[in-house]
Amino acid sequence: MPMLYEIEGKQLFKENKIPVPRFRAYTDSSSISQFVEEIGSDVMMAKAQALSGGRGKAGLIKKVSSAEAEEYIQSILGRDHRGKPVEIVMLEEPLEIEKEYYLAVMLDNESGKYLIIASSRGGVDIEEVAEHYPDDIFKEYLSIWDDPFSYMFIDLGKNLGFEAKTLTSFTNIMTNMVNMAKQRDLTLVEINPLILTPDRKIIAADSKVVIDGNSDFRQANIASLKSQRDRHTELEFEADQAGISYVQLDGEIGIIAGGAGLSMATCDLLEFFGSSPANFLDVGGGADETKIEKSLEILSRQNIKGIFVNFFAGITRCDDVAQGIINASKKFEIEVPIVIRLVGTNDKEGISILEENGIKAYGEMEPAARKIIELVKGGN
């Protein structure tokens, strides 16, 4: 679920005419005075940019005076938030709040339609609103084909209590949100809270945007945003660049598997047999030998006690898998025990490549899993 930083989301909002407070990004604490001058206010919001939630509780969002801003930015830059250092702090003009709303547009998995969720109870956890005040949540589906127009959102706006000028602002924001989701391949655009100010302006005080990783090829601007690099660990990012799905876990046995389901089941089986997976790794359908080599190289940089290669090849070919393993073993030393299970497309060819190099391949998953666990535990 690739998410954007709040500030990246707000930049998108701005480009799509969804009103946001004035803001600026800081990677150090210089030239704050310029921003103070621009907003003409002595207080502002300072918000650390992070992909994990719980920023408020962690003290990473704070209302500060211009005198405090510099020190505060310095204090949170580099601070760890759920395993990642804070690298960007956003300063933002403060808003006067008359009322807070909740607004979201998502591509709904069940219906395959765009789903709009809105509530006049914003600024709090929407799931709690749904539980305690279900009547205050409005849902509307939009056909995947329809272009959004302001008229479609008039009823919704009235249900939320908007009228006259604010009703027009609201229907425009809705239209722009849906258009943005469609044009930029966003699977979620959430504003919580959307704020009505005392002077009757509607402004997005927060942004939560989830992009569709499958659309990277046609959304290059979004795919290259900083958040998209930061959401991975270094090894995960490298794997991602090579087209490998890799998730770092904290167990003892490294895994290379073909297919997401089998990779997950391999993790599960190791745990079921009393060991633990060091990672999830799916080389993807139709992986060639260089991907296998790259996978082994990634694992060699992780702290593991053994490697379990598990393929039931359909679109991938076992001879490519075997060749990749051999190529890797010639380029760098695999220092831990490795057990290989290889069946499916071209398995005879794959097994003979391994045998020529003195490596035995297993035909079944469970005996192979037991073997690698035995080797790892025996080595302790």
């Binding site: 990779s263 089941a265 359909g314």
Partner: protein, 288 residues
């Protein structure tokens, strides 16, 4: 009988002249699938793997009366290829391609629904009716004809389960790989209903994974309408929350998407849940 696919189903391969298309069309033909045409724009009039190639789906369907098509085409061109197939009038559309933008999948899905087309995938291994026909990439040699129907969100994990069944003497009626994307064509429930009504199928195996609500809906349907015994395996017991495990649909959101929670709900609906794929044939034997 079996479901969705039999030895008479005429199939068109979209992208037949590409690397993946060629490899798997060959394997489908070798298995006995009636591959009657291929489509690659600009290569109409040629012959490939002994099959006529057409420039468009319309021409291919008109010439062959095929009712099914399978897509082996890069993700960025899949949307148009799928629309073309539905417009040409096919009834069963299988999209093997991985990495299709979800908005494209939603559009294909809606178009399929509007035209009563059964869509399987995207990002799926396809389907196989053993000893009759296969569409997609499931290895034929691990399958054998029998009475177990399989419906799965995974590819390779399904092969694992099929092989365990075959080795233990349980053949399959039809195996359907639904695909791992969050927005896809048919789901568990469509297949459960088809298997329930298929005289050849005596047991049904459901292979799920973390994320989404398909398993929960299947539990509801099984409680109300399915009389045949159902067995379920859920992958991703060890998955950490919030991380995507390869499949875009495989991500745990809170408690409801976890493997544990899904197994609980399935058990409550009277479904036999197992912890490893090798446990499935053991449980089936116990219940016979």
């Amino acid at each position: 009988m079996a479901i969705l696919l039999d030895e008479n189903t005429k199939v068109i391969v979209q992208g037949i002249t590409g690397k993946q298309g060629t490899f798997h069309a060959k394997s489908m033909i070798g298995y006995g699938t009636k591959v009657v045409a291929g489509v690659t724009p600009g290569k109409g009039g040629q012959e490939h793997l002994g099959v006529p190639v057409f420039d468009s789906m319309k021409e291919a369907v008109e010439a062959t009366q095929a009712t099914a098509s399978v897509i082996f085409i890069p993700a960025r061109f899949t949307y148009s290829a799928a629309m073309e197939a539905i417009d040409a009038g096919i009834n069963l559309l299988t999209v093997i391609t991985e990495g299709v933008p979800v908005q494209d999948s939603a559009r294909i899905r809606q178009k399929a629904l509007d035209n009563d087309v059964v869509m399987v995938g995207p990002n799926c291994p396809g389907l196989i009716t053993p000893e009759a026909s296969k569409i997609g990439i499931i290895p034929g040699k691990i399958c054998t004809k029998g009475n177990v129907g399989i419906v799965s969100r995974s590819g390779t994990l399904t092969y694992e389960i099929i092989q365990n069944l075959t080795v233990n003497g349980f053949g399959q009626s039809t195996c359907v790989g639904l695909g791992g994307d969050p927005i896809k064509g048919i789901g568990f429930n469509e297949c459960l209903t088809l298997f329930e009504n298929d005289p050849q199928t005596n047991q049904i195996i459901l292979v799920g994974e973390i994320g989404g609500t398909g398993e929960q809906q299947a539990a509801d349907l099984v409680k109300k309408e399915i009389t045949k015994p159902v067995y379920a395996f859920i992958a991703g017991q060890t998955a950490p929350p919030g991380k995507q495990m390869g499949h875009a649909g495989a991500i745990v959101h809170g408690k409801s998407g976890t493997a544990k929670e899904k197994m609980r709900i399935l058990s409550e609906a009277g479904i036999t849940t197992v912890r490893t794929s090798s446990e499935i044939p053991i449980r089936i034997k116990e219940n016979l």
